[in-house]
């Protein structure tokens, strides 16, 4: 047994704490934050490699055996997600170096981003349900501060709404944990799963599972997404990109984990409800996507559509659909960060996010324009790029499960997503230039490096789908057969 599983959590925490002490030395902060995220990335990749070689890595923290202590469980799904979130955080940090103002840099923006990464990684790796709640709170507290940092009028207003929603969701989370503890008498997820499998999932347990669905649905914007468009359009672009790539995905991961491991026994109720919620999410998100003429809102609703799409795959719960959901989840984390960074670059160059006031940027920002075009195609799922494989597998699973209405909704939402991002592309990059050279508000150069990294990943994940799918298959194994996970933790 090694301590490898704890490193993706401890490294960003350590560097985050370190950064608090060098508040006024911004260059040092930038160097340390990059080093910390790179180290996290290396440890995460190492962890994924170890998991692919030796199977699920379990670390019993403090040496207490399984049901009594807190285990950190790195199966392939967690290892992949931890790696991808480190990559995304690195890209957002690189963008933040250019895009954030000095005021925010001095007021702990970088340490908070590290703490956010710590919370996200911890949520992916933990094997204890209450510990999951604690890591959720670590992540959320960092996100409250990052959202309100700067104290603009819109930011203050939206933070109030975001915080109220999340306090209510967290209260519901603790309530659900209390009920589950009262039923099973344990907090270890593998142990809970074992006990529920023995007792049988009766009506009471199914009710509790629906409470969990509500909680994670609130966090991941599954149907209960009313808070998201406002909150995600308030903060500056690098922070919004970090939120869009990571925060909702943790909710999705928690739904995947709880409903494949703990509550898989009544799919005709729980998974049916999940599928219809996913369908409504896709539909309403797609309506939002086409309704607006402001970049920030269009991108925020795009987050919602993809949440619906992934959870449709989770709801079908066949092996093909789950592989598709995992693949699409990975793709979506990268693609959302990419498109938010590029959207932020457009807004910073034009000085506005109203599409009708931007035009002809391609004449003097060609690389940015074609990067945006590429990421728009990736979001819609055009074949050589990464969005395609996951989408096909989810739809294939949906057809096998005879959920034709939802498959149609999924396809329709893809079309509308393509329309919405192309609307942004055509309006902002084509046409006559409204700005002459030198008149633009910023150069947008800071966005190039991080978006090139992410774009390379988007292309690579599309072209190298065979290699990635080998990892995804390994990630799906414990989801289809939870006994693998349970034995790894409890033996």
């Amino acid at each position: 047994m090694t301590n490898l599983a704890v490193l993706p959590i401890v490294t960003p925490l350590l560097f985050g704490v370190l950064l608090f002490f060098v508040r006024y030395r911004i260059r040092l902060q930038m160097g340390l934050a990059t080093a910390g995220t790179l180290a996290t990335l290396i440890f995460s990749a190492l962890l994924a490699h170890t998991v692919s070689k030796d199977g699920i890595q379990v670390l019993h923290v403090g040496g207490w055996e399984a049901p009594y202590g807190i285990p950190l469980v790195a199966d392939m799904l967690a290892a992949i997600l931890v790696t991808i979130s480190s990559v995304v955080t690195l890209a957002c940090l690189l963008y933040a170096f250019h895009a954030l103002d000095d005021e925010r840099k001095r007021n702990y923006a970088f340490p908070l981003m590290m703490i956010l990464l710590c919370g996200v990684n911890g949520s992916f790796l933990t094997g204890d349900i209450f510990n999951l709640f604690v890591f959720f709170e670590v992540m959320l507290l960092a996100s409250y501060v990052l959202l309100s940092l700067g104290g603009g009028r819109i930011q203050l207003r939206e933070t109030i709404k975001y915080i109220v929603i999340n306090i209510i969701a967290s209260s519901l989370f603790v309530i659900a944990i209390a009920y589950l503890y009262s039923i099973t008498g344990t907090l270890n997820m593998a142990h809970i799963a074992q006990r529920i499998a023995e007792l049988g999932q009766d009506g009471l347990t199914t009710t509790v599972s629906l409470l969990f669905l509500t909680v994670f649905g609130l966090k991941s914007a599954l149907f209960l997404f009313f808070w998201l468009p406002g909150s995600y359009s308030a903060p500056p672009a690098p922070i919004a990109a970090l939120f869009a790539a990571l925060l909702t995905k943790v909710g999705i991961y928690s739904i995947i984990r709880t409903f494949t491991l703990i509550f898989p026994h009544q799919p005709q109720i729980t998974h049916e409800i999940m599928m219809w919620l996913a369908g409504l999410t896709m539909l309403l998100g797609a309506l939002g996507v086409i309704a607006y003429w402001r970049i920030k809102q269009i991108l925020a609703y795009n987050v919602i559509v993809s949440v619906g799409f992934i959870l449709f795959g989770v709801g079908v719960a066949s092996e093909a659909a789950l592989s598709g959901a995992v693949y699409y989840l990975i793709h979506d984390m990268i693609a959302k960060a990419l498109i938010f960074i590029l959207g932020g670059a457009i807004i910073s160059i034009a000085g506005t996010d109203k599409l009708r006031e931007i035009s002809g940027l391609i004449h003097f920002r060609p690389i940015l324009g074609w990067l945006f075009f590429l990421s728009a195609l990736a979001l819609a799922g055009v074949p050589p790029l990464s969005g395609f494989v996951g989408k096909v597998m989810i739809l294939q699973g949906g057809v096998q499960a005879k959920a034709f209405v939802l498959v149609a909704l999924g396809l329709l939402s893809s079309l509308l997503v393509l329309y919405s991002v192309m609307k942004v592309f055509i309006n902002s990059f084509w046409g006559e230039t409204l700005l002459s050279e030198g008149e633009e508000k910023s150069t947008g150069k800071g966005a190039l490096l991080p978006s090139l990294i992410l774009a390379a990943l988007v292309v690579g994940f599309g072209l190298g789908a065979e290699e990635i799918l080998a990892y995804v298959r390994q990630a799906v194994e414990p989801l289809v057969d939870p006994s693998i996970y349970i034995e790894a933790v409890l033996s």
Partner: protein, 113 residues
């Protein structure tokens, strides 16, 4: 005993939800803290309120109460303290900057920066 606890927790939830649905920001914060009070009491109740000694080994009793939920509640209390204090400061800052505590007036306008 659990029944009485459940009833009073239900009252706390009802009052909390009612306060959260009002227009004044301060009442919303009070509502959230009542909600978290209810949640903590629920955690305590859900582990059964059997009689036993306090979970201190020095007590040398035959039976102790369940120590696990107490640890959970302690964790949850400090987390909600942190969140609530941040929320209070946020509300203060928002009142200074926006000049209102009425949620109806905190709606988004389209063309504001």
């Amino acid at each position: 005993m659990e029944l009485y606890m459940s009833l009073s927790i239900g009252v706390l939830f009802a009052v909390g939800v009612y306060l959260i649905l009002t227009r004044s920001l301060l009442r919303i914060i009070l509502g959230t803290s009542l909600l978290t009070h209810g949640v903590h009491l629920l955690l305590l109740t859900m582990s059964r309120l059997k009689t036993g000694a306090a979970p201190l080994l020095g007590e040398k009793a035959a039976a102790y109460v369940d120590p696990l939920p107490q640890a959970l509640i302690l964790t949850s209390i400090v987390i909600s303290f942190g969140v609530t204090s941040f929320f209070f400061v946020l509300a203060y800052k928002a009142y200074q900057k926006l000049g209102t505590d009425d949620m109806e007036q905190l709606r988004g306008q389209d063309d504001e920066q």
